[in-house]
């Protein structure tokens, strides 16, 4: 086959996808909803994990992709959500659902704490401070009594949903699928909102944006807060799914992994970030056969993508 026919075929397929977008979307959703009826627990676990990373990557995408702020400590916000739910249910007997608004409040607070003093910093310095913040949260969790120290928290309550205890992996498959869809919807709305445009302007040229009346400090702070809330909510459900959490879940490499998903998929592009998150979880699973070599292969693939496609795997938007 010549390249020409290959090109015309792919554009033909893309055209088909475009014209039947809605039908395909419904079909795709139906498949996603149908999966738990056929798949085994292992597949469900992997997919639930994928949806989970979709939420985290989309949250970080708001900070990194939309607002253009480098954040190397994103796992801290995820930790805030997980620990809030963990502590409130296991130590104070809170109902799981009530811990979500509390976690959102704490995540907002964490977003302000990290955002407030650092937003006047430019990229490299900001990266260092966020890295430090991530480590402070993890080390604090490791050393505080209330967080259970290095061994963490156990016996976190399972939530009930209309009388059913959420204790099956298929339940969490649906929980994280629903949250991921919500995150996609929220990201989409944000991207096309007034705030989304303000992020875009500030990302391209801070001074010009400020000179046109955009309060750059405020809108960057919003990015941190919204990103933090995404991670906080994901953290709540993570704690409920695992019923046990420990500080070692929220390491620097966790933050880097989430960032990798965003960059790999394509910063600022929702479908790209979703694919990036998927690649993050699926790649090591699919290549389990090659054993410990798989992380090496994964790293090499990442490097190749960054070398030859630094804008991420997802194609740029047509204008």
């Amino acid at each position: 086959m010549t390249t020409d026919t290959l090109v015309s075929r792919t554009t033909g397929i893309l055209g088909l996808i475009e014209t039947h977008q809605k039908t395909l979307l419904v079909l795709f959703l139906a498949i996603l909803i149908g999966i738990p009826a056929y798949a085994n627990n292992y597949v469900l676990e992997v997919l639930a994990n994928t949806w989970f990373y979709v939420i985290l990557c989309l949250g970080l995408n708001i900070v990194v992709g939309y607002a253009g702020l480098l954040d190397l400590g994103y796992a801290a916000f995820f930790a805030v959500g997980a620990y809030t739910t963990g502590i409130l249910t296991s130590r104070f007997g809170f109902n799981f659902w009530l811990t979500i608004p509390v976690a959102m409040a704490f995540a907002t607070l964490a977003g302000v704490i990290i955002g407030g003093p650092t937003l006047r910093l430019r990229s490299d310095y900001l990266a260092i401070v966020t890295l430090g913040f991530g480590e402070i949260v993890r080390i604090a969790a490791r050393n505080l009594k209330i967080t259970g120290g290095a061994s963490g928290l156990i016996g976190i309550d399972r939530p009930h949903f209309f009388g059913t205890e959420l204790n099956q992996i298929s339940h969490y498959y649906f929980v994280f699928l629903a949250l991921a869809l919500l995150a996609i919807f929220a990201s989409y709305r944000l991207q096309h909102s007034r705030l989304g445009r303000a992020w875009q302007y500030v990302r391209e040229d801070e001074d010009a944006a400020e000179a046109m009346g955009i309060n750059r400090v405020a809108i960057k702070l919003y990015a941190y807060i919204i990103g933090a809330v995404f991670a906080g909510i994901a953290g709540c459900f993570y704690a409920a799914k695992m019923t046990a959490i420990s500080p070692e879940t929220f390491t620097f490499s966790q933050s880097i992994l989430i960032l990798l998903g965003v960059v790999f998929g394509g910063m600022g592009k929702i479908p790209g970030v979703v694919c990036g998150a998927g690649a993050l979880v699926l790649f090591p699973e699919v290549f389990r056969g090659i054993g410990s070599m798989r992380l090496l292969v994964f790293a090499v693939v990442m490097l190749l993508v960054m070398l030859y496609r630094p804008q991420g795997i997802w194609p740029a938007q047509k204008s």
Partner: protein, 238 residues
């Protein structure tokens, strides 16, 4: 007194330890075009950046329409009608002409008013209407300058700060930009113009200031400056 739009009193601005402005006094009256002239590094752009709040002065006072705006951040002064068109145009490449203009009216929530203002901008710069859906990065230098000015006009400025609008433009485009500035002024806008092209600027200006190493060394009405021997020697050439 009431016709004073902008007044700077003993403004000093530093970048770290380097003093860029050493006590600037300057007045812009309603309906005027005031030119701020000077060599590279004299502090012209710093003066504008200090007025709009992009940098903070370390001493002195800035009054705009009777209000003290010395400590106001840039995004607030914009709301009050003081608009800065920064040096180098700073348009957003990769966004369309229309999206760039939309930024200019970012503080505005009423779409009807936005549309009216955009029509007015298109009236002043018909080329922008033709290129409305195009990537702003593909515009020529002169068109980009028109876009930068159009973007500022989307905010209905009471005072427009223009930083080197003729920079890097071909002579006939410089004339075109100067014509537009005069037209804007005729339609009621007060303008503080920073220029290296002193000749072009003094043709328009009602009043002019000359900056040298952070100080105002001379001021007079436009005509007198144009004929002042020192100005002719230093900036206009023979």
């Amino acid at each position: 007194m009431s016709d004073i739009v902008l007044q700077l009193q003993d403004i000093e601005t530093c970048y770290g330890k380097i003093v860029a402005l050493r006590g600037i006094n300057l007045v812009v009256k309603k309906g005027q075009i005031v030119a701020l002239l000077g060599a590279n590094g004299a502090g012209k752009s710093t003066t504008l950046r200090t007025i709009s709040g992009l940098v903070k002065s370390s001493a002195g006072k800035i009054m705009f329409l009777g209000n003290d705006i010395t400590r106001s951040p840039a995004h607030e002064t914009v709301r009050n009608g003081l608009i800065h068109v920064p040096e180098g145009r700073r348009i957003f490449k990769g966004m369309t002409v229309q999206e760039n203009l939309d930024l200019g009216s970012f503080t505005l929530k009423d779409d009807g008013v936005r549309k009216k203002r955009m029509e007015r901008v298109f009236g002043l710069f018909p080329i922008l209407e033709k290129r409305r859906k195009q990537d702003a990065g593909l515009l020529s230098g002169g068109e980009q300058q028109m876009l930068a000015m159009g973007r500022a006009l989307m905010n209905e400025p009471k005072l427009l700060l223009l930083d080197e609008p003729s920079m890097g433009l071909a002579p006939f485009l410089v004339q075109e930009i100067m014509r537009v500035i005069r037209q804007l002024n005729a339609s009621g806008a007060t303008i503080l113009l920073v220029e290296q092209n002193a000749k072009a600027a003094l043709k328009l200006a009602h009043y002019g200031y000359v900056l040298e190493t952070g100080k105002i060394v001379m001021e007079n009405d436009g005509n007198s400056l144009q004929n002042d021997a020192r100005i002719v020697n230093a900036y206009l050439g023979n």
